[in-house]
Amino acid sequence: MMGGGLTATANRVRFGIQSAHEIVETALHELETRDHAWHCTTRLLSERALRMADTVDARIKDGDQVGPLAGVPFGVKALFDLEGITTTAGSVVLKGNPPARRDAAVIQRLIAAGAIPVATLNMDEFAYGFVTENAHYGTTLNPHDPTRLAGGSSGGSAAVVATGILPFALGSDTNGSIRVPAALCGVWGLRPTQGVLPLEGVYPFASSLDTVGPLAARAEDLRCVFEAMSGTPVADIDDVMSFRVARLGGWFAHDLPPALLEGLDRIMAFFGSSHEIELSGVERARSAAFVISASEGGNLHLPRLRKCPMDYDPATRDRLMAGALLPAAAFIQAQRLRNAFRNCLRELFKTTDILIAPTVAGVAPRINASTILVDGKSVPARANLGILTQPLSLGGMPVLAAPLAPHPNDAEPRLPVGVQLIAAPGREDVLFAAARALEQAGILGYLTLATS
């Protein structure tokens, strides 16, 4: 429904070619009639969305400026506040909470830019997982192969974009929860620089590492949405060939399938670089992220775990309880290690503009076999799909998750695999410039269902 990207959609609305009401009504109808196949949504915001669309149409009629995302519908991971609705964070534990008094800060900014939230989206309970298998709201299926996982925890967000029904969605990323499902569903996602986007009105998981960001079907759409969310235009960089690009080896080079290796080679060849860097302490960085997440998540939920443990998704409950039992010494050491790792990365970015790494070491796992192979061992997907994203969360730098384009020589369509582009803190402009160039070169980008 969004041919030409969301800028084209917004322009059709702004210039009166198509009404926001029609666009939103179509999106709602598509979700209502087709989403049973994937289970991306947990709630449709039909009445509110149509009312907002009518307001946009009325303002255009009055000659008002309605913003660059005029009439563009989007979905919201179920941990963002929406005025008048109780935020569930993918759980039933919070159902007694009062409805949110206002929209989350980033949603307010998107609405100010003309965009319209139309649905809440499925996730792992309290964002604690990489699979979007939720005991309360069901499993979100991968639109490219419904026998496979969509990834998580922002699985509903990635999957709904992959269906082509919505052009963008919001997710959160603590350890990879935007990047992992983006990779498995073949869409774009951004974990912005830690702290650059406000978290007001976003239900926390591990506040030391929490970020929010967009997922979209195209690099340019991702950039437009990020600009609206941050309230600041992203600077244009034309000379992408001057970027100093390096590929991460070691930890990031294990168990990669041929499609990923070939894609990484194509990216490096595009930039004319063969530079490979082995980051030291990556495994410990991942462990530090694990310990911080478990400790902060466990502490956050401790009062409710005392009162109503059996209301939690069993997979989440046992992890949160274990986290609540960790000693303070482990948490503090992890936070010290975080500073050391961040300093190491700061040094690295003095001589490098972009680091390239795979996002997930393979395609989406099958739903009935929720394990993956790591170094030849079968481990649970729920905790381990983020093995390549989690260490990078510790540094706080921006990471853009991008789908690799199918190779021209592929005999038949293959399932999505993705890469991470990593830049120095605050340099989202570098990432978007590289992403645009690689998309235009046919190296990055994957089709959504509606455009297949």
Binding site: Q194, G195, S207, S208, G281, E283, R284, R286, S287, A288, F290, V291, A294, L302, L305, R306, P309, M310, P314, R317, D318, R319, M321, A322, G323, A324, L325, L326, A329, A330, I332, Q333, A334, Q335, R336, L337, R338, N339, A340, R342, A383
Partner: protein, 62 residues
């Protein structure tokens, strides 16, 4: 349940008591397994020697 497993469950109960967290019996094996998993990560984090001036990365802007 082996003696080792029984000891591990007893330890989980003791740790839980320290934070006033009653753990339902049905949850004990799952919590124990997750705690054992987390401890492999704690061991890795604690295996690194950091200088005294490397402070924790708490985020606090007054």
């Amino acid at each position: 349940m082996s003696e080792t497993e029984q000891d591990q469950i007893t330890e989980v109960r003791l740790l839980a008591r320290q934070v006033n967290l009653p753990i339902p019996v049905a949850c004990l094996p799952g919590v124990q397994a997750n705690l054992a998993f987390l401890r492999t990560h704690v061991d890795l984090v604690e295996s690194v020697s950091l200088p005294d001036d490397c402070t924790p990365a708490y985020v606090f802007t007054p």
